[in-house]
Amino acid sequence: MADGLKLAYFMVVREGASFLGGLLLTDESGIPLDFRYTEPITPTKLQSVLYGKALESHLREEVIQKALLKELKGSPDLFILPASDLAGGWNAEVRCPALALQKSQEAPLARLGEVFRATPRELLLQVVEGASPVRAIFASSVDLAAQDQAAAQLIEAGYHMDLVEPLERVTAALQTLVQPT
């Protein structure tokens, strides 16, 4: 088991014209160690016009993510975010490797713990025996060596936890916060 491994799960939800971000830090078993969330950010009409299409990515990468990481207690080893965020071109500066995790529909790999490189930025990880492998998509800033190291850490953590599930928890927590009581 990867001793002291800390995984940061980052999620931004949009509620109307407001954006709300959350960051969940878990241990290698998926147990929450810290959870931070931002107050809803509502860009003004002028800001929406001036930022245009870059507004949402700027909010995610520069405003929300930086504010959450600054307040987080402890530094994560891996920064995990939704694949949709990564597909949009993740350019934020994070000290640890940034990646997205997805449950794939691929056929299981031959043995538990096997890693298959699909593309230079995409790995298939067999974390549960007999199940479909987990797809790990890395940010463009993560080099191959860092990807291999992250894959090993994920394999170890996947033995004790569902690697994808904490992201759903962050979403649920944020929706709880924005819903009127």
Binding site: S29, I31, Y51, R169
Partner: protein
Amino acid sequence: MGRLKGAVSDVAETLRRVFSDPPCHHLDTALDAFGIGSLEPFEGRSLAPEALCHAVLASADLGLSAGLGSEPTAFQARVQVDEAFVQWAAGARICEMEVFGAASGVRSEIPPLPRRAQVRSSPPEGFRGRSRGGMASISAPRGFRADPTLADPRVHRDLELALGLPMAVPGEDLQKLPRPIWMRYTLQIVKATGENIRNLDVLGIYRIPSKGVTGLRHDARSGRLVIQLGPAAAGARRTPFMLARRKDDRTIVSCYLEGG
């Protein structure tokens, strides 16, 4: 005959020539030269009076003082000339006409432009503009600044909220457990529950916090244990947790392993 014929021929020829050529007369086309003359200037002459009276006192030459009585006065005629009129008449030239003559041709040239403009060292005077003090200037418009930067949001911490959310914990692979460890684990659940091991179906072994677990549920389909945690679970040690089901009444029994 021959001479006569020749003479007649000559005469005929002579007549033919005389009458064939038109008479030519000399015509003098030259213009008469006009004389150059001058007009006598008009001269005004004054009519001077031939005689002007000149009064002379006819007094006795004896040097006697004259009295108040009126003395007899005689007027003696004397010729006087007023020269001013003469000079005026002589000097006045009323009109003098210029006589036309051949003008002397003079070649005129356009002066070249200076190759280099001269620079005046001193500013020209008299061209200084004066501003009118009373003219109201157009004031600059007011500028407004709209800050487009998105301020950093306030960040809150709510670990309790995150712990309270249901969390799925996958079970460990029982087949890969070493047999001595498996036997130790089963012994522990027998001791903890007092149940016969033959009456138990082990559902799984899960690593969950040793304290702070507020709720748990077994997902039979995925084989996972869904737990909910309380604040006490933060930082708690992870301990193996065995979940089993009685065969007779299908109730769930569980216990922490390894002294958890």
